[in-house]
Symmetry: C4
Amino acid sequence: MAQRRTRDRIHEIIFEADTPTGKYFDIILLVLIVLSVLTVMLESSEQWQRDYGRTFLILEWIFTIIFTIEYVLRLWTTIKPWKYALSFYGIIDLMAILPTYLTIFLSGFGAQAFVIIRVIRLLRVFRIFKLGKFLGEGDQLKMALIASRNKITVFLFAVTLLVIIIGAVMYLIEGGTNEGFSSIPRAVYWAIVTLTTVGYGDITPKTNIGQFLSALVMIIGYAIIAVPTGIVTNEMLNTKAKGHQKNTQACRYCSRDGHDDDAEHCKYCGGLLNEPEEIDS
Amino acid sequence: MAQRRTRDRIHEIIFEADTPTGKYFDIILLVLIVLSVLTVMLESSEQWQRDYGRTFLILEWIFTIIFTIEYVLRLWTTIKPWKYALSFYGIIDLMAILPTYLTIFLSGFGAQAFVIIRVIRLLRVFRIFKLGKFLGEGDQLKMALIASRNKITVFLFAVTLLVIIIGAVMYLIEGGTNEGFSSIPRAVYWAIVTLTTVGYGDITPKTNIGQFLSALVMIIGYAIIAVPTGIVTNEMLNTKAKGHQKNTQACRYCSRDGHDDDAEHCKYCGGLLNEPEEIDS
Amino acid sequence: MAQRRTRDRIHEIIFEADTPTGKYFDIILLVLIVLSVLTVMLESSEQWQRDYGRTFLILEWIFTIIFTIEYVLRLWTTIKPWKYALSFYGIIDLMAILPTYLTIFLSGFGAQAFVIIRVIRLLRVFRIFKLGKFLGEGDQLKMALIASRNKITVFLFAVTLLVIIIGAVMYLIEGGTNEGFSSIPRAVYWAIVTLTTVGYGDITPKTNIGQFLSALVMIIGYAIIAVPTGIVTNEMLNTKAKGHQKNTQACRYCSRDGHDDDAEHCKYCGGLLNEPEEIDS
Amino acid sequence: MAQRRTRDRIHEIIFEADTPTGKYFDIILLVLIVLSVLTVMLESSEQWQRDYGRTFLILEWIFTIIFTIEYVLRLWTTIKPWKYALSFYGIIDLMAILPTYLTIFLSGFGAQAFVIIRVIRLLRVFRIFKLGKFLGEGDQLKMALIASRNKITVFLFAVTLLVIIIGAVMYLIEGGTNEGFSSIPRAVYWAIVTLTTVGYGDITPKTNIGQFLSALVMIIGYAIIAVPTGIVTNEMLNTKAKGHQKNTQACRYCSRDGHDDDAEHCKYCGGLLNEPEEIDS
């Protein structure tokens, strides 16, 4: 019984953020994740690798061991461990620790290939959104983006058509003389660089007619950037004030969260969210 | 009679997207169009042309034959074929197949000049907007853009005046010393590159006064980008909820679509949209 | 009396756009202005000047003579010519013809210095806004911009402070090693290029800390572009539907326009806008 | 008593902007601050320093002496000088004069290090917001930004995650062959340059797959710029018309301002804002 209560408490600390201890845990975890990703980033620089390679290796192992303990605790305190292990965050949590262990067996090889997997552990940071005030804000943004998804798809689709046609025209105009427009895909790349107003300048038109066409493309890009903005602003006006209060509880059976404040059962699997204290004692 | 029914069914499949078969047909066509345009794009790259030139030629002919069959079916199932042939999509459909046949007679020559016509077949993809959920969204966007057309014209007109005057001033300031401002048209090109915040960097001011003026232009560009955004957002708020339900039927007499869900006659030519089943049998 | 009526009719044609003849006059004038500015622009290119210098000279004189006739007619049909001559458009109209005459006396010299004055004749094009449908749109845009003037001033002021401080910091960081940051004004120029997302790339940070600071500046610029957009969108929502019907009449006494449709007297000088037809005959 | 009245009047002039003299004082101060910052900026240029070094030195001392007198007057007229000296503007005011005095003792050394402190005196310009019409506008902007703070934090947080992951992927793709992607931090810098549509062009993708990924990043950046715009526009619509009338009085006890027009006591320390005239005489 005592063990069960311990499990309950640990579950509350590591999965939720409604208690002070739960909040502290989340903040410490956040700091550790950010530090471990910073380590991965700096390690990728040849110069830092040469100067502090040993320190990075030790730090990496410290972070991995801490994350492993956390992962094991998460598995232990969840009632249906497999459901957690196969949930989105469960997989991310596993991917945060696996690469370091794998480097033992694959030493010297593929260290670089794992870099991307190590960086993905940053996704775990999204758990910070559990922290109070950001919960509603993030939800509202997400809802506005979801609501405008179809319109943005249509817009991006039209933009794609536009850049392909512009690219093909520029390929015809400057393809023969300008190295940068030597194939349609490159010309399309240039059209995207121009239309989105990024403007690297690695490929630029040289002929008068090419420059004239570019100027047109820029003005089009400058004008149609208004479209996604209009879409999102609109949806935000609509979704405003529709948000409902949620808390940070995570179901102990299926590890999914997003439950309303007054919910007693998990809305995904029906599991009891908070076992009554009386029965426990 | 049986043949008539077949024609009716084929018309429904290739022109409309309300039936499952019609939807599948549209999706397959979409994939074929995208693939054929990808082929054209990759073919334009000298390296790919050298390595896979033969494959591209075969693919191009396969796509052309499929599109030809589709074009003939469209002509056959439409009651007034000439109206279809001369409609916007009729011409696009013809332009999608013509270039390949023409290359037989004009072999070796002008292959590159046809590339732009081949890419235009991408416009056929706009038929995908018939696919359910995008129908209303596209309409709403189009309505908002049409409603803000006059305001955007006024805005673009003012921007054009602005860039010409800025270009002339920069030509006076840096024209003598800076190769990039050697004529007013080039200076106007630079002004557009700067005002739209594209910023290639192929032409940049070198003198102090030139850099000061550029900085002003950038800040103006940064501030007035708000104008088209404000216009479109506004119109979107207005056009919202004004859209009415449309379906994907296309008239068999004049091949135009955009009919309301409860329409029985084509609103353009008056032709009957759905001949009653009883009479058919 | 007949002469007076002629003057009345000419005034109506060249100053207003409510009659068909007035509209045609405006459109022809618009085309002439655009063509004459195009001539000035192309003339500035050394190559075109060499090849077509003579043609440009002839064209310039043709345009100047037409504009001179128009200017004289404007003076003649206005009841108080000096008021017109000293009005905004009166001065622009004079500046459109003066440079060509002055080149006779100052031949060989200063031709380039006049180029900017010649381009300014483009401002005359703003008379096109008299043309029907653009009248209200332009007014609405202008009203929204005037209403948001104070807020945009505050915003641009804050941006100016920001770029100066960012420039000073970057001068300290990279001033010694990077040619592009050799003085604060240059560093401020870079800060503006970066914050407005123009990004020429003629000056770029080289050190790690410089690149880190740039990244911050970019993200700030990316976020605060929302501010002017928010301001203008807001004001547009407010000014919407407040516009009142205006026509294109210009007072014959003081040459100012913008009178309401039902106005009988000029709201600036009190002069009668339309002398009753009965009295005239 | 007379001295006390003088102090009262001087306090009103230098701290407030409701009287004509107070307004003139603010405008003169504004001009002096801008001039002194311009001096600092130009001084940083090696060429100007060589040509006008002596003039700059004299100007700097003139500005410093004027600002010192102003600072002493501010201390003298405030009832609790320490509170003013330790307030935000009190520290800025001190920092505006200190560097020049310190250069006497530290001559030849560190002159450059003080440049940033000298530029910070520009922050004093924010006092111009006291000038009538800008007061409400600035407040409204500030309120809208504060209200959207949480949403913008969430947005910038998501953007940070995005650029790190994009950077890691690009490091894997082009890290080996392209100098610009030699470490993850540099690749992240590139991702920020691209996503914010700045596009310096100092680091650009060279491989086909890298260019394809860049094109994706640009289009994402082009689309999500809508998000902060939507947020701010929204909040502006909400905060509109909520502003309340404030005047420019500053408390003589604690030197803080922002008091309502009808306030009699300072809302921060409770000190009397305007001592009754009768008692004074």
